[in-house]
Symmetry: D2
Subunit: 355 residues, 4 copies
Amino acid sequence: MTATDAPPLVPAAEPGTADLRVAVLGVGLMGADHVARLHRRVSGARVAAVSDAATDRADQVAAEVPGCRVVPDPLAAVADPEIDAVVVASPGRFHEEQVLACIDRGIPVLCEKPLTLEAASSLAVVRAEDAYAARTGGRLVQVGFMRRFDPEYAQLRELIASGGIGEPLVVHCAHRNPAVPPGVTTESVVNDSVVHEVDVARFLLGEEIAAVTVLRPRSTRHAAEELSDPLLVLLETTGGRVVDVEVFVSTGLAYEVRTEVVGEDGSAMIGIPQGLVRQSAGPGGAVRGTTVPAGFRERFATAYDLELQRWVDAARRGTVDGPGAWDGYAAQAVCAAGVEALLCGRRTEVRMEQR
Amino acid sequence: MTATDAPPLVPAAEPGTADLRVAVLGVGLMGADHVARLHRRVSGARVAAVSDAATDRADQVAAEVPGCRVVPDPLAAVADPEIDAVVVASPGRFHEEQVLACIDRGIPVLCEKPLTLEAASSLAVVRAEDAYAARTGGRLVQVGFMRRFDPEYAQLRELIASGGIGEPLVVHCAHRNPAVPPGVTTESVVNDSVVHEVDVARFLLGEEIAAVTVLRPRSTRHAAEELSDPLLVLLETTGGRVVDVEVFVSTGLAYEVRTEVVGEDGSAMIGIPQGLVRQSAGPGGAVRGTTVPAGFRERFATAYDLELQRWVDAARRGTVDGPGAWDGYAAQAVCAAGVEALLCGRRTEVRMEQR
Amino acid sequence: MTATDAPPLVPAAEPGTADLRVAVLGVGLMGADHVARLHRRVSGARVAAVSDAATDRADQVAAEVPGCRVVPDPLAAVADPEIDAVVVASPGRFHEEQVLACIDRGIPVLCEKPLTLEAASSLAVVRAEDAYAARTGGRLVQVGFMRRFDPEYAQLRELIASGGIGEPLVVHCAHRNPAVPPGVTTESVVNDSVVHEVDVARFLLGEEIAAVTVLRPRSTRHAAEELSDPLLVLLETTGGRVVDVEVFVSTGLAYEVRTEVVGEDGSAMIGIPQGLVRQSAGPGGAVRGTTVPAGFRERFATAYDLELQRWVDAARRGTVDGPGAWDGYAAQAVCAAGVEALLCGRRTEVRMEQR
Amino acid sequence: MTATDAPPLVPAAEPGTADLRVAVLGVGLMGADHVARLHRRVSGARVAAVSDAATDRADQVAAEVPGCRVVPDPLAAVADPEIDAVVVASPGRFHEEQVLACIDRGIPVLCEKPLTLEAASSLAVVRAEDAYAARTGGRLVQVGFMRRFDPEYAQLRELIASGGIGEPLVVHCAHRNPAVPPGVTTESVVNDSVVHEVDVARFLLGEEIAAVTVLRPRSTRHAAEELSDPLLVLLETTGGRVVDVEVFVSTGLAYEVRTEVVGEDGSAMIGIPQGLVRQSAGPGGAVRGTTVPAGFRERFATAYDLELQRWVDAARRGTVDGPGAWDGYAAQAVCAAGVEALLCGRRTEVRMEQR
């Protein structure tokens, strides 16, 4: 069954004649960005409702979008017949309930990562969507792994898939943030930062992760007291490939994400600083500097655009064109093993149910 | 008078409630791209009509866009009260008439470069829009110099404007195409390729071009018989800055556009190949290769998106937020001097009217 | 005690008046290179004798160097009063005996790595030289870790030492060879290739290695039957820093050695392909390629020059100005743990004697 | 006649048995560097005499080299039968006399650029050496265009010669110095800085320069009062190729020399900053910086080594293996045209005698 066979879930949704009416649940930093993207840059959709426990923030965001209502109860927004699709950008603990409600109503949902907070509840979402798919042949859940839409990652995957570097064997990742907010713990670094590399590894290699090891090198003095930073995380895939991930969230420098895949017949790297190259006098002599993005919102701006546009396009056709619930579950299962590896200091096997 | 003071030219055009109804005149390669962009990626506008002398092509393009009509006569499309704004992507010889018609009707027009085919007719457009602006305070004409919307060029200009490399003194440009279609002449290379560097120089330096010299190095054997390729074009600005432009349209390689600005306190370069770096075995030994864009449509895809989105946004507010008629005129005046310099082999001063 | 205090071991060796008379033991690939370097590029020394079990090869090498004798017995060359210093480039199993003979005679020796084949015999050399140093205050043994003389590695170490990137925390190394000769085993990859990264880590971080883990990713189809290739080797230092080493000896591509140090206040990378950047049409589209060195002899040509020149200069002053016997011992101890880690599949602690 | 046919000018000069006894005339910055190189890094030669009008400097330099005499009269040094070869590093106005004396005596001479101060006297040197060559078949004069020995330039020339980028058409050069000493004039910039690019162009393209144009862009505020800086110099070759040279000697930044050759089938660039790449926090945000050489002595250290070593090797064989007198003459003729072009502001044809 292909996407075009899917039953028309959104009634009368002729492209160009009627826009997809989207409810955005949670309008913090990410949710507000999604509202602005849907309103200003994405074609074929409009933000019809927003919902947030912080009602003043919801009011403020809605005021920017003509025709957008504030719906205090997120589940009421999901149930609203004037709503065709949902973006879930609420705190992770609400994801399970909200996504399941969308599946119940049979409307498309784009859920920010993590799909849910635990592997078990993520699996429950997978099972619910599977039951829906068994009935209707359609898919409803997309998870917000936006790197898959980044042109560099897409190009890298295509290069691997085309055999351009032969069979991939080793992947090196670096994930560096200038700083993290107070309250971030070493465990949450695994769950919130390493999770992206987990999905990247699965996306690039097309395999599940079988085991995780976490090394804790000497920490930077810039790290918060309780934080082990940097970490070196090793992922072993079911096919025997190895991924090493340096995750370092208190560099004090720029946002930097780099991935190198080493294959049998070549290697390929993305995330090299690029764009404008500047040379000017600095303290301690002349340097030639390239500009680097300030953060993930700048680095992945195009990826977010493409993610939302493709999601809208697919939703209007009644299908999903991005990472699905299973990808969300797999990431949770690996991160759970990662946290265990972090705490026990040993290689930990990933436990995943059969799909 | 700022943009927000401008009178509401498009009646009842509340953002988000009614989309800008755009007519696209000419649906060849560029025009069809613009139609697809407006339909698929730009928010706040829809393609309401297309017009092309090749009616089957117009039919084909319109069929992709629900609600889009084919209007055989482009001037009828301009006159249609159901049209709020116009994109001119027809052959250059029709630009003057079509743009003047838009000014007459007082609706925004985005005109692909060149604004018109000669400096004199471009100046006529400038004068007509000036008269409109004197009456209404608004601007109507934007010229399709999309590089101004490219993030790298924008960043480079900002760097210069902020004093980051001091006073700019010399600019080096390289403009390389793998090949050009049959029929391209050395003069048309000046008019169609060098024109972009002319606008880039004006955009980056904020000055007019005062003189042009064209050198004809030995030509590549890949060039068509009548073509002098490459050329080395020297532009001198009114402020005494010098721009050298290598334009080489039969490289047989990739599309490559590179600009370096050398200033008193530093230098900056854009257009360095970037993104994915691949290393694999090639004939004659291993190479480390970066991927380069296949052509200007790939290289400047984001620039085209931004150009159209900003034009739509500004048009709905009744203003222009991009290169205007004067920029189109200035480019024509410089290219005219460039062709003269090409033919006479000497430094040629640019003749421009007062603004 | 500084170098200039050292007793004049080479009698009457006024720089410029009498050249250091060097015997080179073993004139295979590396030994013949050393002979050519001493003869053609190093000032202040001359090759007075060569020795090799393959006497025809010794004859051939000696014929290129006026005044150079062939001495069949390497220990006779060491004992020869007309010899002032020795380069040991013989197979590793002869190193212990030959280096100890030099220490016995009290003449400087530059020994190609490995110092000896086992940690225990390396320690014996350390102890013998220590006894000599206790008597005379001088040092005699230098080990051929030529990367320390590579300008990039030297610059990287200086950057770290100057605090330019803050406290180093993680080091990423890649060591890639196009191919290896038949007979190379996974163990010998650890002993012969990883050993360089071991010394680099010790050189850059100024710490000993405390533990080793070896992962065996899926092997390339280009690897010989018995070879696990690539390997991912993890080194943990006594100060809690972590070094990951990708060693991949059947890439089929170029020789590539890359090191990145991530510190508290910045990061620094060397080994980026450099020099000439070429863009030309290749199969499958245009690529922009930088040339990469063909092998370690090309990549480290300057390092070998500097290594020999500094050794000659120091030897004439009766001292050592490079990696010493302890460095050779430490590398052997780590490689022994590496081989154990490889075989047992677990993290293995390095056992080192007190210095 | 090949190099090996040349008559043995230096009697009994068996390589390895007797070193070439070199007199260095002029021991300012460059001359002292040459003395140190010959003494410390070049094999097969020794500095037997130095001569300098500043006798204390000569004494100081000679004191560093055992066996080196001070000879007050440079022509006496040339005439000395204990001298086998001469390095001329005296001020340019003495070059003609000293080089002619070497030709008279029939001994090899390495003359720092310029060969002489004017094209006419350079031609006189060419003619004198030609007469010598007609008698003996040997060559005596090498000019100090050390860039020809730089590995990158050598590699670039080889790439062109091998057809790797097809027929070369355009060359872009940038020559940037952080600052120049007081007293440097725009004319001396042409004679002392541009001269290197002139030789590079001739070396890479294998053609003479036919015409020169000099543009004076707006000057940097960092330039001395009388200095036009930067300049843009255009060289046209006899084969119709075009070379543009940005020469900018008050950048306040690093020493930077970059050359790009654009050919029919590809392009190639050298001089890209390389080596260590550092990322660290700077004022105004994070930058990723590569280190750049401090000056020409650092950038071209290896080139100087190779230049001297090859000159010594060739001199001992009685020949020349580097840029000859004609190359010195050609550079002078082009610079003379360059100064004329600078002063008259027009394209100026180069006048050269037949070889």
